[in-house]
């Protein structure tokens, strides 16, 4: 490809050195062409200066000066980790490394956004739950009594979706169930009547009057009833 180097060709030395002007890479300009190019260059330089003057107003210049002095540091709140990485670090990276770095930066930013959204959602949900519980407590005087049981029931995955009213009903049923003794328990309680704290489920008064031999015989009768006659081996 033909190279077109303005500096080379505008360099007087280029002519004076008398380089080979017939080579494929070299272009020879006559005076008219040179003058045209020169005027074009001057026009471009003027346009550039106009644009600069239009952009760099005194106010904008003052703002840039203040940035240089570090007056605006406090406003830079959300500086990304990659913003601190100097450019030459990127320049030293291979394309693959650059891609990985970019991917990681993108994922980090996405995760942080998602985390923030999750936190916001959870805070909303917690506040809504608190409002619901407060409203429920206002309408149920014994709510605090059943609250621990309701909490226990709610931990069961089967009850995960139950509303407060259902949990409350189930907690009440649970307590009712605990209060009522089974037939076996009732029979045991009947036997316990008049027994001292040290006693077992048989009547203490009856046992106290018996000899140890009689107690052993009675125990053997119970075991025979349960397991049958005593085996020989």
């Amino acid at each position: 490809m033909r190279k077109f180097n303005w500096l080379f060709f505008l360099n007087n030395k280029g002519f004076a050195d008398g380089d080979d002007k017939t080579g494929d890479d070299k272009v020879t300009l006559n005076k008219e062409e040179y003058e045209a190019l020169k005027s074009s260059k001057e026009k471009l330089e003027k346009d550039l200066e106009d644009v600069r003057m239009e952009v760099l107003t005194p106010e904008y210049s003052a703002f840039l000066d203040s940035l240089e002095k570090g007056e605006d540091k406090g406003k830079k709140k959300e500086e990304k980790p990659n913003d601190k990485v100097p450019d030459d670090v990127f320049e030293k990276m291979s394309k693959k490394e650059l891609f990985e770095a970019a991917k990681k930066a993108a994922l980090d930013e996405l995760n942080s956004t998602l985390d923030k959204q999750r936190k916001d959602t959870k805070a909303d949900s917690d506040a809504r739950t608190k409002r619901e519980i407060a409203a429920f407590a206002k309408t149920h005087d014994d709510f605090e009594t059943f609250r621990p049981i309701m909490y226990g029931l709610s931990l069961d995955p089967k009850n995960a979706d139950l509303p407060l009213s259902d949990l409350y009903t189930r907690a009440k049923e649970h307590v009712k169930k605990l209060g009522g003794a089974s037939d076996e328990e009732k029979a045991k309680q009947a036997r316990l009547k008049g027994e001292k704290p040290t006693g077992d489920s048989t009547s203490f008064e009856k046992v106290k009057k018996m000899s140890n031999e009689s107690i052993a015989r009675e125990a053997l009768d119970e075991v025979i009833k349960e397991l049958g006659p005593m085996p020989k081996s």
Binding site: T198, G199, V207, A216, A219, L220, M230, S233
Partner: protein, 329 residues
């Protein structure tokens, strides 16, 4: 249902029998021990669960500083007041084991009577051994977390109360209340001379000193001292204590208080106790219970189980107790 082997059958029989006779045996252990019987008579055998790491003894040693006589329109200083000082001690475990050898089981097999006889013999022995252990420990001069036994009476009512010793975590030589009084020392008096001459006056003096902080209602001596007291009392009108009569205790009285003797009491000592401030705590769930039968390793079909109890003796006030030492004819 699978048929039980002889070993399994006997395991069940022993557990069932112990469950039936345990209340009676426990009562025998506590009733045959005079000291515990007298604690029980005043409601000082306490049943409480031992779930906590330590035995807590609440003491009422602090006093308010805001009480005063007042006139019209006077104001009271409002200050919060926590009257409780908690003394701590450790729960103690007492236990014994019952071993059954396979060979004995085999020898007795075929005879229910032989098995029952052996079982009763083993269980009676365990009960008697535990009874002796309880008696020994209740009278020991040791206690606290450094020993495994119950706190002994000699430890709780010290014959040298001003020396440095820690009872329920409180040092008796240094602990003072807000008035500068040594609230964690019991009373002690050394006999002035021969019992026949000084016995009554020494005991009266010590009892009065104890009664400044409580109400002594039980005296326990060694046999000799108690007999000396009885010999003196024979010359006067015999007075019996109704509570001791009801409990079936052979006793004498001193100023209307029960006075008994114990073979475990040190010679020449008489303990003056206020039973409202000394007692014994037991865990009702671990009160001479029999654990599961286990096979003894490396022995063919030999079995072992343990009978265990958890409790401790304590005081919640010490100034009202006393000990008279050096009594002799």
């Amino acid at each position: 249902m699978a048929t039980a082997t002889l070993t399994e059958y006997l395991n069940t029989l022993y557990v069932t029998t112990w469950a039936k006779r345990r209340p009676k045996d426990v009562d025998q252990i506590f009733e045959e021990n005079k000291l515990l019987k007298l604690y029980g008579s005043k409601g000082m055998i306490k049943y409480e669960p031992t779930n906590g790491r330590r035995l807590e003894v609440p003491l009422r040693v602090k006093k308010t500083t805001t009480s005063k006589f007042f006139g019209k329109g006077a104001t009271f200083t409002i200050t919060d007041f926590d009257p409780l000082t908690i003394a701590y001690d450790t729960w103690k475990n007492l236990g014994d084991q019952v071993v059954r050898y396979w060979e004995d089981d085999k020898v007795n097999s075929g005879s229910d009577v032989a098995h029952l006889k052996m079982m009763n013999s083993k269980l009676d022995t365990v009960r008697d051994t535990l009874m002796e252990k309880v008696e020994d420990s209740l009278w020991a001069d040791t206690g606290g977390a450094s020993v495994l036994d119950y706190n002994g009476l000699q430890y709780l009512v010290d014959n040298s109360p001003s020396t440095s010793a820690t009872i329920h975590g409180i040092n008796q030589s240094t602990a003072v209340d807000s008035g500068g009084n040594y609230y964690w020392r019991n009373q002690q008096k050394t006999a002035t001379g021969a019992f026949s001459v000084y016995g009554e006056s020494d005991m009266t003096n010590l009892m009065n000193t104890c009664n400044r902080w409580g109400n002594v209602d039980l005296l326990i001596s060694d046999q000799t001292t108690n007999e000396l007291g009885e010999a003196e009392a024979l010359e006067r009108v015999r007075v019996v204590n109704q509570e001791a009569v009801n409990l079936g205790l052979d006793h004498i009285t001193f100023k209307g208080r029960i006075w008994i003797w114990s073979p475990k009491c040190p010679a020449g000592f008489t303990y003056f106790l206020d039973r409202r401030h000394i007692g014994f705590s037991i865990d009702p769930e671990v009160n001479m219970v029999m654990g599961p039968w286990k096979k003894i390793p490396n022995q063919y079909e030999d079995q072992v189980t343990q009978v265990v109890q958890r409790g401790n003796q304590w005081v919640d006030k010490r100034q009202c107790h006393g000990v008279c030492t050096g009594q002799a004819a």
